[in-house]
Subunit: 327 residues, 2 copies
Amino acid sequence: MHILVTGAAGMIGSKLTEGLGRDGELKGQRIDKLTLVDVVAPQRPAKVAEKIEAVAADLAASGAAAKAIADRPDVIFHLAGVVSGEAELDFNKGYRVNLDGTRALLEAIRATGDGYRPRLVYTSSIAVFGAPFPDLIPDDFHLTPLTSYGTQKAIGEALLADYTRRGFCDGVGIRLPSVVVRPGKPNKAASGFFSGIIREPLAGLEAVLPVSETVVHTHASPRAAVGFLIHAAGLARDALGPRINLSMPGVSCTVGDQIASLRRIAGDRVAARIRRAEDPLVARIVEGWPQRIEARRARELGFKAENSFDEIVRIHIDEDRSGTFIK
Amino acid sequence: MHILVTGAAGMIGSKLTEGLGRDGELKGQRIDKLTLVDVVAPQRPAKVAEKIEAVAADLAASGAAAKAIADRPDVIFHLAGVVSGEAELDFNKGYRVNLDGTRALLEAIRATGDGYRPRLVYTSSIAVFGAPFPDLIPDDFHLTPLTSYGTQKAIGEALLADYTRRGFCDGVGIRLPSVVVRPGKPNKAASGFFSGIIREPLAGLEAVLPVSETVVHTHASPRAAVGFLIHAAGLARDALGPRINLSMPGVSCTVGDQIASLRRIAGDRVAARIRRAEDPLVARIVEGWPQRIEARRARELGFKAENSFDEIVRIHIDEDRSGTFIK
């Protein structure tokens, strides 16, 4: 089994790569080779026996996608992408990386021909949905993205479905909810506070909450996101049917619920490190975001998220903080 | 008022161009200039006082789109495209013309900058929808195209919405139902019989019906389609809101209803020129097509289709057969 991961240096990419290295197998088959691609050379995971290739490449650049798949990986995890905030600030870069890069990968697969038809797991996002919304966003809600990022993801889904229908690849698109708690430093994404209000207080730092505590959103841990990817790689084509792009499940809760989880697990002193400072710009952006995702098909197909935000906080403490926090 | 029509040599493009030439105005403003673009040089409409430029160009070719909009048309009707059957047979051509051509036009508009923000009327199609369907397809039904053509149109809609949201153009996407009765010779489109079973018998020729008479579909005449385009050009941005892609209304009826209309208007002898010869391939393709389109928003916004299939037959006889037919 040969696996290619694009965007392997990113947060989810590196956690996926670590997980694959640890498991040593996918879909019950031994992993013989792991190819990691990103615009910066990805780190090789620890504890790995199989052959690893780590390549720095921009998939949208001429010939790069063909090179990435030259050894015909059986499973491709396509995570490479520019995030929402950056795609909004840099229009050209967002379309180049998120649209042209994805299309180049699909075209390279098609050009291979000769019966080559890899399972291609594409990371989409609930940003394909745009307000106004019903209380619960069903699987068949129409895609009306309100960001360039969401538009590019929606286009990627459409291409993936057509290339799959035509028999050029075997695609599964998974719409990730917000992945929380992101480890590392705060970033400039408008959604950054969903992680920041948990991560920073646990690290003894102040976090700013720019929106009201009544804001509702759907979250899954990085561990759940990696689980979605691995489950998607193993899904039977027949079970999936022609509608191959799926909203992933998650924990739908208010910001107030998030803070209550933090308080239950880490105590009042930690929770008191959150400073309220409403930012009308962020509040307006967040208003356009999906709130509760139903994800009925994904649940039926066996995709599993956490059952409570408490679990999400505990996973962050276990995985990214070695089980401790600053009291 | 300067107007650009792409795909001006096509059936709807030439009827639109004729109509604009006849009216001499759009949105209450005198038409000073009409630029017609197609891969073959479009015919200049009769009875026209204003300045006309007819250009043979492929919008996807480097620099062609920039040249087409160099004189900053106020309104652009983007009709250029490869039809459904051809896009399915020639994968590269479909993506090149329908996706790359549309994106090149949008990019040329964006590159102009300097406050240039034309009204861009984009012809999409109900082929953006794919089975299974509810009894009546609502405006917010999700897009799950089952053809490459439908995929390309769905992507064009997404791009148009994002470029409009970002302020680069002022877009309106209109999803045309099947445009029936198409004048001219039979073509190889799987949908060709919807026109053929009316057009051929009226011309004294035999027509083959490859599907059951119970098949339901939504139709609008070429005259209604031109009316949609002109109405879309004049729509107020505020009335439209952020969801700028609209399903157009039409007459939803069975093939049996179509034949009954023909019989009422032209008599038994004409209707008897339809020969039943079920084609399982065509029947299967047609099964995946949208049946009844609700088009509530479009109707509320003042888009008007015919009220019965009888009207559609009469329009064909009037417009394309000089009011007569072969008894």
